[in-house]
Amino acid sequence: MSLTAESPQAASRPPGDALVVLDHVDKWFGDLHVLQDINLSIRRGEVVVVIGPSGSGKSTLCRTVNRLETIDSGTISLDGRPLPAEGKELARLRAEVGMVFQSFNLFAHKSILENVTLGPVKVRGVPKAEAEEKARRLLDRVGVGAQASKYPAQLSGGQQQRVAIARALAMEPKVMLFDEPTSALDPEMIKEVLDVMVDLARGGMTMVVVTHEMGFARTAANRVVFMSDGQIVEENEPETFFTDPRSDRAKDFLGKILKH
């Protein structure tokens, strides 16, 4: 079962070239230097997990990729094109970048089905019937097809997050950003969301995942990026990173979270 089989972009280019490139990116929140000279290149089809202590800048990094956060210097490019400034161009770019939020952010006044069809209908001009058919397929695939006519508040957190993934997938994005997608979930619902994400990763989707789920990183990630104090301190493939971290800060962080 692949969630990305219908994405034409995924097949049209050879795998492995750089899709998202952050080059010398800096960002300040007032006096706080939240992103410090970030250089990161994410290849097509790659799954990158970003971990680090809270306040390390990992969510901010994730949000700069579709320009929900602006940057102060450096460049970010998607598929060879630099991120455009605010306006129609930027909206077009965002349509190609799927985003899943910690707090789901489903449109509260729209049904589950409408949540998934809004983007394709309004942004891509897909006819409503066609968008609904596709939305139902996506909802079935993430296991919430039966909830299509309900409203977000009637669903559990795990169900809402899976709808949010379907909503992002409906735009056939080139890359999916996950900003702590399981952090707001009750423990028993984390797995159902991670299962969908693992499935997505196996289907070849390019993913940037900010998470504390080490199990997911080990199962699905090609690379772990460890951030601390606004810097990328260490990058490695998951097994090596978790068993043999090089930097003291990573050792310290892993020591704190893995001891229990």
């Binding site: 965002r94 985003m99 707090s103 509260a108 006044h109």
Partner: protein, 216 residues
Amino acid sequence: MDWLADGYGLVLRAFLLTIELGVVAGVFSMLLGVLLAAARVGPVAVLAKAAATYVLVFRNTPLLMVFVFVFVALPKVDIPQLSFFAKGVLALTLYTSAFVCEAVRSGVNSVPLGQAEAARAVGLTFGQTMQEVVLPQAMRAALPPLASVLIALMKNTSVAAAFGLIEATARMRFFTNDNADVRTVIFLVFAIGYVVIVELMSAGAFTLERRWRVAR
């Protein structure tokens, strides 16, 4: 009650004009007010500043002054002559839209930021984000203050009585002039008329409020 038996047609016509003024000015105020609110929360600094200035001017000016401005100052400007009715609507709209703007803005502020972020992340433009996601939710939250603003508008139409529009308040004055012995009764009849109109508006707002209730 001879005055009412003989003049009930005049009373009805006067209240009809009150309602017409209120409804027409209400529609224009809503349109202008929502646009102003969108400008105030939007990313274009010049528009935000302009909308804020508009609110500053018209929310802080007595309605009577706005009427005087439209009826006395505007004719000096060489624009196509407006009817008394259109001038009344214009004055009421200029004034009321500032309040609509602030009510809608309070509604917009009540919509969690994540809703707009999710809409932008899907690729909606600022306009689409406002139209499809933020404003529908904002209007629900803004309904109680908006109802108050529109009710105030309906009663504010009485200011037009001083500017040649024979709406309910002007008609009441004519009746009390001619029938001074029963002026308390006349006053009560007209007051009840206003109360009925406003109660209908309140009931309508309450119904909408219940139907639109969104759980979060």
